[in-house]
């Protein structure tokens, strides 16, 4: 494979292959930054991959009090799923179990889309008849009495069908510490990109997968081509100097957001250089036949 070199980091001439998804965004606020984050973190917990979690979700950006609808600190949370029905189900369950329950929380829509997803319109029944509907300024809210006052929740939020899931970078390094340093640099850079999330723990996944497996019923199994301990026994993608690979998976509100996030990640990792971080950057794809969106690394270089 042809490789470009940027600041001593080899860039594979390959592409990340991504898929169209359904997505929504909400703003969760709390009495302070800690509790706004706590509600958002709980809601986006166990939401790393649609394969096993039903959705992929994470905090897109933290918002200062001046930028939220109720003047309290907040987080913009994005949720991605493969179908509208699944997205609605995940949104409703996570909102009900994780945000409604979090002290002092409130929840607002933050996406205008082609269709509406229920927020407060679904949760209002928790009010057992004491819920209050309020419409003003072109928006509809539900107020549900709870033990610390009221849970304020906008009735609906928007759904976008323009979302893209599965943008990725594979960071290959000589040691685990270098791979992790590269991954952390990429995550820090991508966190600044609006409209893009990294759903895996801390934004990083170490168990990249391939489609299918030898066992019946396995829809995904280990990406043996990038597993360093298998490099002698399978058709490996890894050279003799690589001992650890980590992946950054990116979901974006639009294709442009994914591209911007990958560009930011590439920039951060190449800037870090091979001595401290990754010596090679690649990307995961399925030969280009499955996903509609292709992000060629060479087009996204800093």
């Amino acid at each position: 494979m042809q490789r470009l070199m940027v600041n001593g980091v080899a860039i594979d001439d390959t592409f990340a292959e991504a898929f169209g998804m359904r997505a929504t965004a909400i703003i969760i606020t709390g009495p302070n930054r800690k509790w706004a984050r706590q509600a958002a973190i709980s809601m986006t917990g166990f939401a790393t991959s649609v394969i096993g979690c039903g959705c992929e979700a994470a905090i897109d950006v933290e918002l200062p009090a001046s930028q939220t609808p109720d003047g309290r600190p907040g987080c913009r949370v994005m949720i991605f799923a493969v179908s509208t029905d699944e997205l609605q189900k995940q949104l409703q369950n996570r909102l009900g179990q994780c945000v409604l329950t979090s002290p002092g929380s409130a929840c607002f829509a933050d996406l205008k889309g082609t269709a509406d997803l229920k927020l407060g319109s679904a949760l209002r029944y928790f009010g057992d008849g004491w819920q209050v509907s309020k419409k003003f300024g072109g928006r509809h809210y539900w107020r549900v009495p709870v033990m610390d006052g009221e849970f304020l929740c906008e009735a609906t939020t928007g759904l976008t069908k323009e979302a893209v899931g599965g943008g990725n970078l594979l960071l290959l390094a000589e040691s685990n510490a270098q791979a992790l340093a590269a991954a952390e640099a990429a995550v820090a850079a991508i966190e600044k990109v609006p409209g893009a999330i990294m759903p895996f723990p801390g934004g990083v996944v170490r168990s990249g997968s391939k489609v299918g497996g030898k066992y019946k019923g396995m829809t995904a199994s280990t990406n043996d081509a990038f597993a360093p301990t298998l490099r002698g026994v399978v058709k490996s993608e890894l050279g003799p100097d690589i001992n650890a690979a980590l992946e950054i998976v990116i979901d974006g509100q639009t294709s442009d957001a994914v591209a911007a996030a990958m560009k930011a990640g590439l920039g951060a990792v190449t800037k870090l250089g091979p001595a401290k971080g990754a010596s090679r950057i690649s990307a995961g794809n399925y030969g280009g036949k499955l996903g509609k969106f292709h992000y060629h690394l060479k087009d996204l270089l800093p």
């Binding site: 109720d70 003047g71 309290r72 309020k134 300024g137 006052g149 304020l152």
Partner: protein
Amino acid sequence: MKALTFTLRETPPERLDLSPLTPEKLASVDKREIGKIRLGMSKRGLTVSDLFKVSGSDLKTIVFEGGSERFDRVGTGLVDGTIRVVGDVGAQAGRQMRAGLITIEGNAGPHAGSCMRGGRLEIMGNAGDHLGGPLAGELAGMNGGVMIVRGRAGAFAGDRMRRGVAAVLKGCGEYAGGRMIAGTLVVTGGVGRLPGYLMRRGSILLDRAPQELSPSFVECGAPDSSFAAVMDRYLVADGILKRPLLGKAPGKFGGDNAVFGTGEILFRR
């Protein structure tokens, strides 16, 4: 295009029904016929040209230069465009309007914004009794939109209100929000006796604690309220109020328990 302007020649000698002078109704009238529209309510039947000098041609923007408390039913059923009255109006200004904007630069009589369903009605002066309220026999009053009275309102402001936001900035008379079904009534500057009397649902938002409440209202605590924050921001952003109304943790009275009992009076503590 210049606004279609009706300049009042002199104080009208009889009550007028100005409901024919809305953009929608005038759209189907030939320009030369406008002067012949009958407005007077007596058997004399004064016409537009008897009362006004007409100029301009933009039907979407109607201006009345000069007003009178005999100007009844201004902007009735407005569905589009704007109407501005440089002066006072009589009863039922903006009644049943559905969209558009009506600005009254003077005072308004009783039943201003009666049963309005949408749009924005702004009264710079005072308003009479039954602001937004239904006429006899109608089941619900204001049913949507935004109504602002920059001055004072009379008794029964927001009577039988069902939807929308009504704001009175310099206080109002007794029974504010009486028999409310739902919606939001904002009053700064104090309310008279028994606000929310027999309200079923809905919110009455005050800048101070009410003086005399029906005994069927009960005190309901004062936790921090995101709703109050969002409402305060809306009222300021929309130009209704200059400063936040409720604050972080408004007090609440729930009622009226003589009826449905899920209404509320929220007030700044």
